[in-house]
């Protein structure tokens, strides 16, 4: 029997994924600063400690580096831990345990051990998150053999990939964008997984392929709507798994459309968009009718001031403009127009600060 499906927010889907995993497997453990606190980690861990007990849903010292290593030992020795970070920036303190230890463990010990650990990180944006609370460094992790890296966009994939990540015997970096937490979508009840690897066709189209990551999938879908008004039929691919990376959907799409725009929530230099374009160039060069385009962060840190951050973050209009370029069509003045009264620095309309 197919499990019932209903609308949940992305945050509620994450919470449900945790509840399912904790329920099914007594080895699963949640750790992280503020995981049991009253704000519930943006609503993604609310009341889990009440439900599953303080020895399975735990707060921790402010010690990201050390605690990451502790989670590795726990994973080697019978637990399946998830270490939660409210910002990816905080996980930067633990690059050694994640990249130099966990990622190598299976390989360097000749396959004698498994490392079933999940590092969960949230990408910040808006309301002055600024230079140190909004870095999007997913490409760093995607660079490392031995890690798996996922960035789900829909509530359905958030829950399914979270459970898959917890059930995986390898270290998985699970990255959420803060601006996805309030997004609603169909989520099946109970246990299910979304396999780590395959990309998702978010919208079928024939004129241009837009490959997007995480929150930028929403901007890409909005861009596709705008493009449709101009008679341009865009296909949108939600990458959702950065490592392993699904080449087949990408290449099939580029073979069909011959045009490629990549929208990433991150910098362009040495980033994921560059990787996607490299794959298309190596394996679908003959299909390309125009140079691919990247829509990424400018090459500067995230500024705090609302006027500067409005300038910093690419939007649907930037994707529309990039698509026009690949189609050799003239730019439109109103592509980058910001509607009067739009507040570009809020994660959702209900947000009033402070974090």
């Amino acid at each position: 029997m197919k499990p019932a499906s209903r609308e949940l927010t992305y945050a509620a889907a994450i919470r449900e994924g945790f509840a399912v995993a904790l329920e099914r497997d007594p080895r699963v453990l949640l750790m992280g600063l503020g995981v049991p606190d009253p704000k519930g980690f943006f609503g993604t861990t609310t009341d889990l400690q009440k439900q599953f007990g303080a020895d399975r849903v735990m707060d921790m010292p402010c010690a990201e580096n050390g605690m990451s290593g502790v989670m590795l030992g726990a994973a080697l020795n019978g637990l399946r831990p998830v270490l939660n970070h409210q910002r990816l920036d905080f996980a930067m303190l633990s690059m050694d345990p994640i990249c130099t230890q966990a990622a190598k463990w299976s390989y360097m010990f000749g396959g004698t051990m498994k490392m079933p650990v999940v590092f969960r990180m949230i990408l910040g944006r808006g309301w002055g998150q600024g230079p140190q609370h909004s870095q999007c460094l997913h490409s760093w992790f995607a660079h490392i053999p031995g890690l798996k890296v996922v960035m789900p966009t829909t509530p359905h994939d958030a829950k399914g990939l979270l459970i898959a990540a917890i059930e995986d015997d390898n270290p998985v970096v699970f990255i959420e964008h803060r601006w996805l937490h309030h997004i609603k979508g169909e989520v099946p009840a109970g246990h299910y997984t979304v396999p780590i690897g395959p990309a998702r066709l978010a919208r079928a189209g024939s004129d241009v392929t837009i490959v997007a990551f995480s929150y930028m999938v929403l901007e890409a879908l909005e861009a596709a709507e705008k493009l449709a008004e101009h008679g341009i039929d865009a296909e949108v691919i939600d990458v959702r798994s950065l490592r392993p990376l699904d080449q087949s959907l990408l290449l099939a799409s580029v073979a069909k459309t011959g045009r490629l725009v990549v929208a990433d929530t991150g910098h362009s230099t040495a980033g994921m968009a560059a990787e996607i374009i490299a794959i298309a160039s190596e394996s679908a060069f003959g299909s390309l009718k125009a140079a691919p385009r990247r829509v990424c962060f400018p090459e500067c840190p995230t500024p705090t001031s609302p006027t500067l951050s409005a300038e910093f973050y690419p939007r649907a209009g930037h994707i529309v403009a990039a698509v026009r370029t690949t189609l050799q069509r003239p730019p439109h003045d109103d592509d980058l127009l910001v509607p009067a009264g739009a507040e570009l620095d809020k994660p959702n309309p209900a947000f009033t600060g402070p974090f």
Binding site: T304, L308, P354
Partner: protein, 333 residues
């Protein structure tokens, strides 16, 4: 000491009056931020120091103007105490071009090099090694300056705290680590982060550093500890660690109160409000006949004007131009 051209806390006053005025000024600035924050024009997280003013006032009064300080996410009090420019701070929180970081940083990234405030950043504990490096350079270059690293008690849980204190102890660096222990890290109490049978100051003592615990709500006690610490560090005898017990009144981040959400009790909060560093110090000064009512009222009136001018200027100031986005990624050489 505390006084700058713009700062109305007068250097000439006696130490008690100066401590009181420094605390009152910090409180008035933070209250003004709290009052304006709901207008949604300060579009960045703010971490207010209300309730914790004595630490900054007492420590900064013990420093020379050319001494250095760094801090973390909760840095308004430290910046102001060290003599940081108020209008530049308020403008920064408003994201304006006239802010101390030209709008690039916001509340969590204050800087005023003229005042010796070398910077604050919100990654917990990250300025501790950098402050240690400032002290290392001063020692190498034979300057007799002291650096203060302001930190919260949660920062002592990070590895870099221990790595830095070990290095400072090894090289007997001229640095004072000032730890404001306000019992919480966001909503996490000490009980889920540190063992109950060990005090925070003992961590630094374990690294061979002279360490003291004091009442962080008593500005005179803080001042006495900080004076001795600065003298010790300046004379080449090595670093000092001060644990100052205190309490944050408002929510961890933002302008409101959060005692109702369940991580701490209203009773605990009210007990700490009884220990208000300002009210209690005022009472003490009154009892000892050191409180000059007229002077104090005049001082508060001046600060009120200073603050409303700073807010008005910040609100009027231009936002940084979009075209300036790429400025300062690299230093101009």
């Amino acid at each position: 000491m505390l006084a700058t051209a713009e700062n109305p806390v007068a250097a000439s006053a006696g130490i008690s009056a100066r401590l009181l005025e420094s605390m009152v000024r910090i409180r008035m600035v933070e209250e003004a931020i709290a009052a304006h924050y709901p207008e949604q024009q300060m579009r960045c997280p703010v971490h207010l120091s209300i309730g914790q003013e004595a630490a900054s006032a007492g420590v900064c009064a013990a420093l020379r103007p050319d001494d250095l300080a760094m801090s973390g996410h909760r840095s308004h009090a430290h910046y102001l105490g060290k003599g940081g420019d108020l209008p530049a701070m308020i403008a920064e929180i408003y994201g304006k071009a006239t802010g101390c970081c030209q709008g690039r940083g916001g509340s969590m990234h204050l800087v005023d090099l003229k005042a010796g405030f070398v910077g604050a950043v919100p990654i917990v504990a990250s300025t501790i090694p950098i402050a240690t490096g400032l002290a290392f350079a001063d020692r190498q270059l034979k300057r007799d300056r002291v650096t203060v690293a302001f930190l919260g008690e949660a920062a002592t849980e990070e590895g870099v705290f221990h790595e830095s204190v070990n290095f400072a102890s090894l090289h007997q660096l001229p640095i004072v680590f000032v730890c404001e222990n306000n019992l919480y890290s966001v909503y996490s109490p000490m009980s889920v982060r540190q063992p109950a049978h060990r005090e925070v100051w003992q961590l630094a003592a374990g690294h061979g550093v002279v360490s003291h615990q004091g009442d962080g709500n008593d500005p005179l006690a803080v001042y006495a500890l900080a004076r001795a610490a600065a003298a010790h560090a300046r004379s080449g005898q090595g670093p000092v660690f001060l644990e100052l017990k205190t309490y944050r009144w408002r929510e961890h981040c933002g302008a409101g109160f959060d005692n109702h959400i369940g991580y701490r009790t209203e009773a605990e909060y009210l007990a700490w409000r009884e220990r208000d560093p300002i009210k209690n110090f005022e009472r003490r000064l009154k009892a000892s006949g050191e409180f000059d009512v007229l002077r104090h009222e005049q001082f508060k009136a001046r600060v009120e004007t200073e603050i409303s001018d700073a807010f008005a200027a910040a609100q009027r100031a231009p936002f940084p131009a979009g075209a300036s986005l790429m400025n300062h990624v690299y230093a101009a050489s």
